[in-house]
Symmetry: C2
Subunit: 197 residues, 2 copies
Amino acid sequence: MGKVSTRQHIIERADQLFYERGFEATSFADIAQAVGISRGNFYHHFKKKDDLLDAVVERRMANTRMMLDQWASAFPEPKDRIRAFIQILIVNQAKIMAHGCPVGTLCAELAKLEHVAQNSARQIFGLFRDWLAEQFRSLGRTQGAEALALHLLGRSQGVTALAMAFRDPAFVETEVAALERWLDSIDQPALPQDQPS
Amino acid sequence: MGKVSTRQHIIERADQLFYERGFEATSFADIAQAVGISRGNFYHHFKKKDDLLDAVVERRMANTRMMLDQWASAFPEPKDRIRAFIQILIVNQAKIMAHGCPVGTLCAELAKLEHVAQNSARQIFGLFRDWLAEQFRSLGRTQGAEALALHLLGRSQGVTALAMAFRDPAFVETEVAALERWLDSIDQPALPQDQPS
DNA sequence: GTCTATATGGGGATAGAC
DNA sequence: GTCTATCCCCATATAGAC
């Protein structure tokens, strides 16, 4: 407690800078300066930039899991849990208008670089997809749960993309309201006690 | 005719490479090689990389205008025009899964770089927004036309984002079908001959 | 207009002293 | 674990011959 390790400190700052400026555009000099260490010290903790990227992706995975667990604890109702997901767009509105979605923009950048870490980055999306699908299943949508999850994930990605381009808070709020109406309109079938055939 | 100017050739190749690899990740050496000229010759045509970016954005603007005009000529019905927009996701499916949307990914990259060309890039989105809004207005949606346009633009951006991350053709097709159902469900009010008050 | 140098700077990465 | 010093490469950009 109190003081985090230098390694952890590097990962945190790199996470932030990769998000704000992008992976490639962030140099070791940038991170070293943000952390307050020399560039040389850097290589004691991470041999290659890709190693650091792996650590950052791992951190984001862990943080995502924590956030999803927290929502699950805080909200017993699946719809409230899904609403919490939608509300990220409002809670992080300023950051999203400035730098987009951390997951989406990283995946896009790594795809263009044909970077090996593409697969790990996509798994963060996978966490959201699976968690959302679980909530839709709890709502009785046992069949199309994954499609619903991907639909919602896509809708939120679309909002972040245009939020970044146009920087219009009103657009974000309009779309969030539309998403919440969409969620409310999801029919909640009676619990299937008897399953035909 | 026949042979395009070297300048034009550079712009075309840069356009393609900026899309496939990203703006920053594409070097003059890459473009020079693709065009088949020396790096030195390059600077005869463009003093700075940013000048080339401007030219590429201008080209994309012009190409977008041409495409929209072409759709307007080919389809008299607004719904068919909007359908043509939605169908880009199918027509360019392979490229989108590999490199995303050319406009969205460029805007995202420039936003992170805090690049001055951000404003020009966003105007490409503006072309789509305004053209789509006009189609919705033709459908009788005189009030919420722009919101509908942004909604559709956002939905399509969301599809490209997840298409790039998951590379799942089935997802794209499912979402395109959903978008077409959404479009069909847009009520087409009777032409407002008498306007209250 | 096109080429071959070349200048200059920044990036990732290493060696080795403390 | 942290530092300074350094290597090497590649990027943008320039100068000047053809």
